[in-house]
């Protein structure tokens, strides 16, 4: 990831050097975009990728037609064009998938020695590395995220996640001191549209490593890489029924949650749906992992390395168009540096390239769906109506597809809806603060608790902050970093359970003392 980041920042650093010189040498604090280097188009080729016209469900080791006989169209959000038809799975398909998963668990996978399970999962990881470019292109075509992110972050991390957990499969006895871990059985897993393949990896890898079988439901708007993963898992020779992938809409997900044959539900998505799931499984023996919404505080102190902090702010909120549950969407700047930080941030925002996600220079790609575009626009209207001052750099947006300019809201306060509610788009609400106590109180005064960021060069202050912030992931002098070995998950209404690292094993085992 650091390598990926370097590729991102290097040309930009050059640019800003040029800019600063110009600014200090002469006039304005608002240099026009002519001041920056123009980039020639650098589109990634799609030639290498073949998509079928129609994709079926993957149940019991076979690609099968949906019970309803219906297919829906999945689009490229950057152009609006239909790229494939996807099986619309329903309750009956879910039932078949759960039955297949149960059979696989009882007859084979549940009894397979960890060493053998590990080898299957290692295979998945290696094959994903082999096909990384194909996966990256499809991820960008279907989800709208910049190819640079799919290529350097999503796909490598997904493969690494399988590789990491594969190695745990025969070492589980070392993970839980003085307790014998036992697999749960069949896990139902529901994943979101913002990191389609990566979330599938986060769900599948630990579940398989701990000896469970799985029914996975991808998000309706971004099913393609999960279906490609089904092909890969098939090619890898994973026994039939161990992984089942059922595409479809909300009702299919609800049938999975409510199916009596599952022992575990793992969900990543919005807090309202997470609450629905928690309620639906109340009183049943089903275990749950919920990775829900967030509204992270991103805190900049006056002694922070300001230029790096500005990069961190940009990465925090504009990474993946802000479709990130842990996005640094509430910025808190210490009052005495607020003007400087905001000026630099605005300048940096002017250099962001919004446009064709397939272009290797693009920083901000397409908004994932029309529905999400509408939601973001709605919040931008709310922000203006609430009296916050909006800033968007001048930049041309493509004529087709769903795009949103990077957006700042200045002079916001705790009670603003754009400060309290998760927008899930490239929209940053800025507040200022004077004292450490004040910013801790403001940062924690929210129902969410997924992540937070702190920028200061003073070590003791960092640890004071990271200890007091009620959030599951705290980035100090960095932001939006992920790794298979690093546990991820929230406090409070951001959910419970961890994904990644040793702690990511707990949600998939029961401990016998």
């Amino acid at each position: 990831m650091a390598i990926a980041k370097k590729k991102v920042t290097k040309p930009i650093a050059k640019k800003s050097v040029v800019t600063t010189k110009k600014v200090s040498a002469q006039k304005t604090e608002n240099p026009s975009s002519d001041d920056f280097w123009k980039y020639a188009p650098a589109p990634e080729s799609k030639d290498h990728v073949t998509l079928k016209e129609k994709y079926d469900l993957y149940i019991g080791g076979k690609f099968v037609k949906p019970n309803s006989g219906k297919y829906y169209e999945t689009i490229n959000p950057a152009s609006g064009e239909v790229i494939a038809k996807i099986a619309d799975g329903n309750e009956k398909d879910i039932h078949l998938a759960v039955t297949a998963a149960r059979k696989a668990y009882d007859q084979h996978w549940g009894k397979l020695p960890g060493k053998e399970r590990a080898k299957y999962i290692f295979r998945i990881a290696r094959m994903m590395q082999e096909r990384a470019r194909e996966f990256a292109v499809i991820e960008t075509m279907n989800g709208g995220k910049p190819i640079r992110e799919s290529r350097d972050i999503d796909i490598p991390l997904a493969a690494n996640h399988f590789f990491y957990y594969a190695g745990w499969a025969d070492k589980l006895d070392y993970a839980f001191p003085n307790a014998k871990p036992k697999s749960l059985g069949v896990a139902g897993q529901i994943i979101p549209w913002n990191f389609p393949l990566l979330m599938a990896a986060w769900k599948l890898a630990p579940a398989l490593a701990t000896g469970n079988t799985v029914v996975l439901k991808p998000a309706e708007s971004t099913p393609l890489t999960a279906l490609k993963l089904a092909e890969l898992i098939h090619d890898a020779g994973v026994p039939e029924g161990v992984v089942n992938i059922v595409t479809g809409f909300g009702p299919a997900g609800a049938s999975l949650v409510n199916h009596p044959g599952i022992d575990k539900i793992a969900f990543t998505g919005s807090t309202p749906v997470g609450k629905y799931i928690q309620k639906a499984i109340a009183g049943t023996p089903k275990k749950a992992t919920l990775e829900l919404g967030g509204k992270a505080a991103h805190i900049i102190f006056d002694d922070a390395p300001i230029d790096q902090a500005v990069e961190g702010i940009v990465n925090g909120i504009f990474f993946n168009q802000g479709h990130v549950c842990c996005a640094g969407s509430r910025l808190f700047i210490q009052e005495n540096v607020a003007e400087l930080v905001i000026r630099k941030l605005k300048q940096r925002m002017k250099t962001l390239i919004v446009g064709d996600p397939m272009d290797k220079n693009t920083d901000i790609g397409a908004i994932n769906s029309k529905e999400q575009m509408d939601k973001i626009n709605q919040y931008i209207k709310i922000g203006i109506k609430e009296g916050a001052e909006i800033y968007q750099p001048e930049c041309a947006l493509p004529a087709k597809g769903f795009f949103c300019k990077p957006t700042l809201f200045l002079h916001t306060s705790q009670s603003h809806r754009i400060v309290q509610e998760e927008i899930f788009g490239p929209v940053l609400a800025v507040q200022t603060f004077r004292t450490l106590e004040e910013v801790i109180e403001k940062a924690n005064n929210i129902p969410y608790g997924l992540s937070a960021g702190v920028w200061t060069d003073k070590g003791s202050k960092i640890f004071n902050l990271t200890t007091q912030l009620r959030a599951g992931v705290v980035w100090a002098n960095t932001y939006n970093k992920f790794d298979p070995a690093s546990p991820f998950g929230g406090y409070k209404e951001s959910g419970f359970g961890r994904e990644g690292g040793l702690h990511g094993l707990y949600p998939y085992v029961s401990l016998q003392s």
């Binding site: 990831m1 650091a2 390598i3 980041k5 370097k6 690494n160 001191p177 003085n178 307790a179 807090t271 997470g274 609450k275 629905y276 928690q278 309620k279 109340a282 009183g283 919920l290 829900l292 390395p305 790096q308 990069e311 961190g312 129902p447 960092i462 990271t466 959030a471 599951g472 992931v473 705290v474 980035w475 100090a476 002098n477 960095t478 970093k481 790794d483 070995a485 690093s486 546990p487 991820f488 998950g489 406090y491 409070k492 209404e493 951001s494 959910g495 419970f496 961890r498 690292g501 040793l502 702690h503 401990l511 003392s513």
Partner: protein, 293 residues
């Protein structure tokens, strides 16, 4: 002439104070010979809310005490319990146990306190990790307490079940509001008197007596409670409470152990009420990948 003994008025325990219930209500508890043992407080929803306020207020102080200090305070609780041993035994016997059973229960309860005292500064090392991330970052994960916990103590014992569910919660730096056994409530208030004289800050443990059927929905729906521990066996209550927990994504745990067994004490109960926090920080100029800002 025989001396007339002084009977104790059993109160409830909120924020380190001993009020009677704000509702003015009571319920009588009898021994097997139908003699009145006590007029216990029939705690109200308002008592519960007051207790949550006290608990939240105590959370910052308790969770930021040094782990070593928390251990010392738990040990102090054991010391105070030992001193009150005969009172606990008498209360348990008055509620229907034999002398032998009562002695066994009190001894196990005190020993359990010492057991969890020792965990206060050790579970962190067991459940933490330094994570070998691929980028140039120092990355570690540590457990932190979840916050305010509603506890429904077991019904069938007066003391052992109660301490067994309180201890793992507070050993981990959480604060709690606990509803004692309805039919065997006496030891809960005596335990509160122990806690009040054990250097445990007021509000860390709050003890209510009363009826679960009246309080369970409030204990699960309160928006400033972070988790619920339920240690009884009523499926209807479990479902109702677990459903209400979804209002603010409370963590819900059904602890159904035989608390007489030593296998029922383990650090995984502490872990239930912990959140794992992962912290990242760049390492300057490691290897080829450069700084990790």
């Amino acid at each position: 002439m025989a001396r007339l003994s002084i009977q104790k008025t059993y109160k409830i325990f909120i924020g380190g104070q001993f009020p009677r219930t704000e509702s003015g209500r009571f319920y009588p508890v009898y021994n097997s010979g139908k003699e009145l043992l006590a007029n216990m407080c029939l705690s109200s929803r308002k008592d519960f809310r007051n207790a949550v306020v006290a608990a939240r207020k105590a959370f910052g102080g308790w969770s930021s005490k040094s782990a070593f200090n928390r251990g010392q305070i738990l040990y102090r609780i054991a010391e105070m319990m030992e001193g009150r041993k005969h009172q606990f035994i008498a209360e348990i016997m008055s509620q229907g146990s034999t002398q032998k059973q009562a002695e066994q229960e009190v001894q196990t309860a005190i020993d359990r306190c010492v057991y969890y005292c020792g965990w206060c500064d050790k579970y962190q090392q067991l459940f933490s990790a330094v994570n070998p991330v691929a980028s140039a970052h120092f990355n570690f994960s540590v457990p932190e307490p979840t916050g305010v916990v509603s506890i429904i103590a077991p019904e069938n014992t007066s003391l052992l079940g109660l301490v067994s569910v309180i201890l793992p919660v507070i050993a981990g730096g959480n604060v709690c509001v606990v509803l004692a056994s309805e039919s065997k409530p006496l030891c809960s208030i005596t335990l509160a008197e122990v806690l009040a004289t054990s250097d445990l800050p007021g509000g860390v443990v709050n003890v209510l007596t009363g009826q679960l059927k009246e309080l369970h929905t409030h204990m699960a729906s309160h928006m400033d409670v972070n988790a619920v521990v339920y240690a009884r066996e009523n499926r209807t209550e479990i479902k109702a409470m677990a459903e209400l927990c979804s209002l603010n994504v409370k963590r819900f745990f059904h602890w159904n152990h035989d608390w007489k067994l030593s296998s029922s004490e383990n650090p995984y109960l502490i872990l239930d009420l912990q959140e794992i926090k992962t912290t990242w920080h760049p390492i300057e100029k490691i290897g080829a990948s450069g700084s990790g800002y």
